[in-house]
């Protein structure tokens, strides 16, 4: 195994598991430290730089960072990263002066954004300060896309949405609400846009064509039903409600039903719990509200008597799961009819582009998804870009934001006549955190505190109105305890081979035995010879060059390092040092700055 190339910015970036897992690469340890210091506004702005919507995402993010969190491998529970983001949003001061602003004079380039959801808003956020003239077309009479229509108000208050969206739109976007684009061809032919961005989401809920489906009006498509609830077109539902499907939309449907008059809500799952699509925390929140989740029930038919839905027939399933955790197709072992007044279908959603003509150079694949370049976000027609769910099918808000950042870079390059593929590389900057003898710039001692629990509104109280936000946010004490659980994975252990005298001090002090000095070898061989088992092959080994005295190598298994800095503290020669890694993820403004400095240099 070759010695590790730490000049590749991805190496230290990967060590920061949360930041690596975040599609927008939010500097998680950075903002958690700011919260710890009481710098809520700075923490908010650091978040906003990467993910644009800290207040929204601090409530409803899919949080890919949390399953990735190193703390979750040391003990059971990861740091409550998402809820700490909300702490920053809840306690920040006025940020008006710190928001990006559009220049007084535009650059004359016009960009159309279709859909006022998270992807388009991310593009607008990046391009408005650069002088672009942005027009946003929105079919509904309000902004936010699925963030507003599909996420119930008791999880995401409209006030939070409005504020963060307006911060972007108010920079000077031309927002055209109630303006559905019916023909892409018309838009491209008649209007004079330099670039068009499609951020229309995946708006079509999947159907379940079983006998009886169209015999009753009490059978709904989940995302359409949630939209009607959001716009108050639907204000009540029957007592007994069945939700088909067990994804996050199903969780929103069952919890909304409870607030519209239902008293007996069952979520019907075809497979066992391990195969649920819903996030663990959304399942927990639903079950806390006494929603019953029934596993191994496959829907068979709707029972409609005299035009009235009275129940639904399910096949009871049995599955075998092999040693690799794969499930078979299952066999039917029985049948049961479950009475109900309403059924909500929440089994997924698809892209739908009835308004994009198929003969205008925009290619679609066999699943009716546009063919989009994953780096540039441009489709097969030059100057047309996609992002969010409309690009690659349903994902989540944070992915849409990440797409938006990348699309903004591409749109800017496209409008400037540059090669879209030639993008600024990522970078990493390392700065030592040593402040003196035994003194580090960060809270390096491991805090054994367990994950704080989010306080909720009382079960009785919360059902009184649909817009009572259930989560109260962390208290000051909870936030103070939770921030200390962060392991500061961005404070990297950096090794300088030529300084090492092979005294073993770092190896002896390491509380999790992640260091070894041994003969060089290939990775599998090295892993078998380390001080402690190194079984997590997704985590890298940090391998030094040959050591000066014996020619052995220093190997660090990154997997369980708690970044306590004791290796650096016990090192007599400073061969180990703790350095903060700042990961540079280029955005549109960086590309522009780079272009300007290049043209200044050539002038």
């Amino acid at each position: 195994m070759k010695s590790t190339d730490t000049s590749n910015p991805d190496y230290f970036h990967k060590v920061v598991d949360c930041q690596w897992a975040c599609p927008a690469h939010t500097d998680v340890p950075g903002y958690i430290r700011l919260i710890a210091q009481g710098q809520f506004t700075d923490a908010y702005m650091l978040n906003r730089h990467s993910n644009i919507f800290p207040g929204i995402l601090g409530r409803v993010c899919d949080r890919p960072c949390e399953p990735a969190c190193r703390r979750g491998r040391i003990e059971d529970k990861p740091v409550a990263i998402c809820r700490l983001k909300r702490v920053a949003a809840d306690h920040r001061e006025d940020i008006t002066d710190r928001l990006p602003r559009a220049p007084a004079k535009t650059n004359g380039k016009k960009v159309a954004l279709i859909g006022a959801g998270c992807a388009s808003l991310a593009v607008a956020n990046d391009l408005l300060p650069l002088g672009y003239e942005i027009t946003i077309f929105e079919a509904h009479d309000t902004t936010g896309g699925l963030m507003r229509t599909n996420i119930p108000q008791f999880r995401l208050p409209p006030k939070v949405l409005d504020e963060e969206i307006n911060n972007i739109v108010d920079m000077g976007a031309d927002l055209k609400i109630n303006h559905r684009i019916e023909s892409m061809k018309e838009l491209l032919d008649n209007d004079n846009y330099d670039a068009v961005f499609v951020g229309t989401g995946a708006p079509r809920g999947k159907e379940l064509k079983l006998p009886g489906r169209y015999d009753s009006e009490n059978i709904y498509i989940g995302i359409d039903w949630l939209e009607c609830v959001a716009f108050e077109h639907i204000k009540k539902i029957g007592k007994k409600v069945l939700i088909i499907g067990v994804g996050n939309t199903a969780m929103d449907c069952c919890r909304s039903s409870l607030r519209l008059g239902a008293t007996d809500v069952k979520v019907m799952a075809r497979k066992p719990r391990a195969f649920f699509k819903a996030s663990a925390w959304e399942l927990e929140d639903a079950e806390e509200e006494n929603v019953e989740i029934m596993v191994n029930h496959s829907p068979k038919e709707f029972v409609v008597e005299n035009g009235k839905l009275t129940g639904m027939v399910f096949e009871q399933m049995e599955y075998t799961i092999d040693e690799k955790g794969r499930i078979d197709r299952g066999k039917v072992v029985g049948e049961v009819t479950i009475p109900c007044d309403d059924v909500i279908l929440a089994i997924g959603q698809d892209n739908a582009f009835p308004w994009i003509e198929r003969d205008i150079g925009i290619e679609f694949d066999e699943w009716e998804c546009p063919v989009v370049n994953e780096t540039t976000m441009m489709c097969s027609r030059d100057g047309v870009f996609f992002g969010g769910d409309s690009a690659f099918g349903p994902k989540n808000i944070i992915w849409a934001v990440a797409h938006g950042h990348e699309a903004a870079i591409s749109i800017d390059k496209y409008c400037s006549g540059e090669d879209l593929q030639e993008r600024l590389p990522r970078g990493v900057n390392l700065v030592s955190q040593k402040m003196g003898l035994h003194e580090w710039s960060f809270s390096n001692s491991y805090d054994a505190a367990s994950r704080r629990l989010m306080p909720h509104v009382d079960l009785k109280e919360r059902f009184k109105k649909i817009d009572i936000e259930v989560e109260l946010g962390f208290t000051a004490e909870q936030a103070a305890a939770e921030v200390e659980r962060c392991l500061n994975c961005d404070i990297q252990t950096v090794f300088t081979t030529k300084l090492c005298i092979e005294c073993d001090a770092c190896i002896d002090i390491c509380p999790v035995d992640c260091l070894t000095m041994t003969e060089a070898g290939d990775e599998a061989d090295l892993r078998s010879r380390l001080t402690a088992p190194a079984e997590n092959t997704e985590q890298m080994l940090y391998v030094s060059d040959a050591l000066p005295q014996t020619g052995r190598v220093m190997v660090k298994d990154e997997d369980l390092c708690v970044h306590c800095s004791l290796c650096a503290e016990r090192c007599p020669t400073g061969a180990w040092d703790m350095r903060k890694s700042a990961i540079f993820i280029p955005q549109a403004e960086d590309e522009v700055a780079s272009r300007e400095s290049r043209s200044a240099a050539s002038a």
Binding site: R73, I74, E75, H438, N444, S445, Y446, A448, I501, E502, C503, D504, A505, I507, D508, I509, P511, V512, D513, C514, A532, P533, E535, Q549, T550, L560, V562, C564, L566, E569, R570, C571, P572, T573
Partner: protein, 351 residues
């Protein structure tokens, strides 16, 4: 030294010994020695050895005198008995403890100053008594606590950080111990744990006096160019005369050794020490051979390491004096103190 404690977190898959303890359960407080001190590596090797031997912490006793080395017992096995005694007097205190309770495992940690200057007489006599203990000398050639003066083990010609080179002859604890009749004599290096750990295990399980001379560089006062006890110098002149593996009674010897090249020696408790000879003609059971080999190696400027001599036949202090092996605290008072009449009649026998 470190201000923060070693965090109370460990590898979720850290191995456990037969008592269900992890290595971390055998740790002590965080060392306050200089960062990079060889003594801390010796501490880690002792921790690994007693963990792997599965010694109950309450059946172990750590004793030391004065010096950097003598701080070591604070850094391992917090749950064990311990005594930080007077400078150079660790052997006497250990003798007393062992006389009263031979059921404990005794680990004495001393230094070159503590054993070979102020405690030289004690050192010689504890060997003579063949006290059943593991006696570790953390040997760095300088008085670290008093800022780096040459100690009794400083080699001729070695250069301190300041001042002239050393001209006085060193006392070699290993040849001294061979001459004095010690029954287990080994030398190791703090920077080579894979060798040091089996040597410590053997020393602990050997019945009788086991001397372990460990070259343990002083990172602050004796790790520079010109020093003969630095990490770099030791590594350059380090020579393994013999490789030793420690095999517990419950373990099978699985490694394939070439016939004629290995020599298993059974210890008192049934465990074995398997010698794999690196130097073909070396015989670790011959005191004379060991002594002459050592003299030659000194002349050649080599630091020879390994288990250099072993004698499992000679009895320990209790065997020699015919004293009881049971801990005195377990013996009923009447038996322990038969009374003035008995004493008087005993005295009469010698009149």
């Amino acid at each position: 030294m470190s201000y923060i404690a070693k965090p109370n977190v460990s590898h979720p898959k850290a191995p456990k010994n037969e008592l269900g303890l992890t290595e971390r359960d055998y740790e002590g407080v965080v060392s306050t020695l200089c960062a990079g001190c060889g003594h801390d590596s010796v501490t880690a090797a002792i921790i690994q050895a007693v963990f792997e031997l599965g010694i109950e912490p309450y059946k172990m006793c750590k004793i030391s005198g004065i010096g950097c080395s003598s701080k070591t017992p604070a850094y391992f096995a917090s749950q064990s008995h311990g005594f930080n005694s007077v400078h150079g007097r660790m052997p006497s205190v250990t003798t007393g403890a062992n006389a009263a309770n031979s059921a404990l495992t005794y680990i004495g940690v001393s230094g070159d100053g503590d054993s070979l200057s102020i405690g030289m007489g004690q050192f010689a006599h504890v060997i003579r008594r063949n006290l059943d203990m593991c006696y570790v000398i953390e040997n760095n050639g300088v008085y670290g606590l008093t800022k780096g003066q040459y100690s009794a083990t400083a080699d001729v010609g070695t250069v301190g950080k300041k001042g002239p080179a050393n001209k006085q002859m060193p006392i070699d604890p290993v040849s001294t111990a061979i001459g004095l009749g010690a029954t287990y004599i080994a030398r190791g290096f703090s920077g080579a744990k894979e060798q040091l750990v089996p040597l410590i295990k053997g020393a602990i399980m050997h019945k009788g006096f086991a001397l372990l001379d460990v070259i343990s560089p002083c990172v602050t006062f004796n790790d520079h160019e010109g020093s003969t006890k630095s990490y770099a110098h030791t590594r350059e002149h380090y020579h393994r005369v013999i490789k030793t593996d420690f095999v517990r009674p419950s373990e099978e010897i699985v490694a394939a050794y070439e016939a004629g090249d290995t020599m298993p020696i059974k210890l008192h408790d049934g465990s074995k020490i398997v010698f794999r000879r690196v130097d073909k003609d070396y015989d670790p059971t011959s005191r004379a051979a060991a002594f002459s080999y050592l003299r030659d190696s000194v002349n050649a400027g080599e630091i020879i390491t390994g288990l250099l001599y072993i004698d499992e036949e000679t009895g320990d202090m209790h065997d020699l004096s015919g004293s009881v092996s049971e801990p005195l605290s377990k013996i009923p008072y009447e038996e322990l103190n038969p009374g003035a009449d008995q004493l008087a009649s005993l005295m009469d026998q010698y009149r």
